[in-house]
Symmetry: C2
C-alpha cells in the first residue's frame, strides 16, 4: 500500500501543494504555473518533476509549452491508502474494545 510513499513526500511541501491545487481546475503550462508563485520558474520545474514522479501530475507537449494536469493515479492511490488505513484502524479499535470488555466481565 506504500505505492504512494512518493505522493506523500511530494505533497509534504507547501509550494508543491499550491501547484497541485492550481492544476485542480484546469491544465496549465509551466510558465502559467510559475507566475503568481513567489518562486522562480526553474524551481517550479523541479517541483513538477517531483509531482510527476509521484504520479500526481502528467505532462504533455503542445508546441513549446509543457502542459501539466493532475494524474488520477496518484490521487486515487492516496485516497485508497487513507481509506484502507482508516478502515483497519477502526477494525483494530473494535477488536481491542471487545477484548477489554471481556477482561471486565
Amino acid at each position: 500500500m506504500s505505492a504512494c510513499e512518493k505522493a506523500f513526500n511530494a505533497l509534504g511541501d507547501p509550494t508543491r501543494r499550491l501547484i497541485f491545487e492550481k492544476l485542480r481546475d484546469r491544465p496549465l503550462a509551466v510558465v502559467d504555473i510559475a507566475d503568481g508563485l513567489s518562486v522562480s520558474r526553474p524551481a517550479v520545474s523541479q517541483h513538477l518533476k517531483v509531482l510527476r514522479e509521484a504520479k500526481l501530475i502528467t505532462m504533455y507537449q503542445k508546441g513549446t509549452r509543457s502542459i501539466c494536469q493532475v494524474d488520477r493515479e496518484g490521487v486515487l492511490a492516496m485516497r485508497n491508502y487513507l481509506d484502507n488505513f482508516w478502515n483497519e484502524a477502526l477494525a483494530a479499535f473494535k477488536l481491542i474494545a471487545e477484548q477489554t470488555e471481556k477482561d471486565h466481565e
Copy 2:
C-alpha cells in the same frame, strides 16, 4: 479545506509515516514505538509532537507511559481533502471537455 496542511507536512516524512502506520493496528507507548525504529527515542518524541499538532494522533498518560493512538480528525480531514480535490478536478475536466466539444461543432 487546508485544515490538513499540517497533516500533509507531517506525513511527508518517512519516519513519521512509519510511526503512524505502527499505530494503525494498536495504541503504543512511546518506548514501544521507538524500538524497532532506527532513530533514538528523543527523535521519536519530536516526531510525535508533529503528528499530534497535525491531529493525526492523540496521546494520554497511563502511569509513566504515554500511550499514542491515531486521531480520526486528521485522517478524515485528509481523506476529505482528497475526495473534494478529486471531485472538483473531475468536474473541471468535464467542463473543459464539453467546452472543446462545442469548439469542434
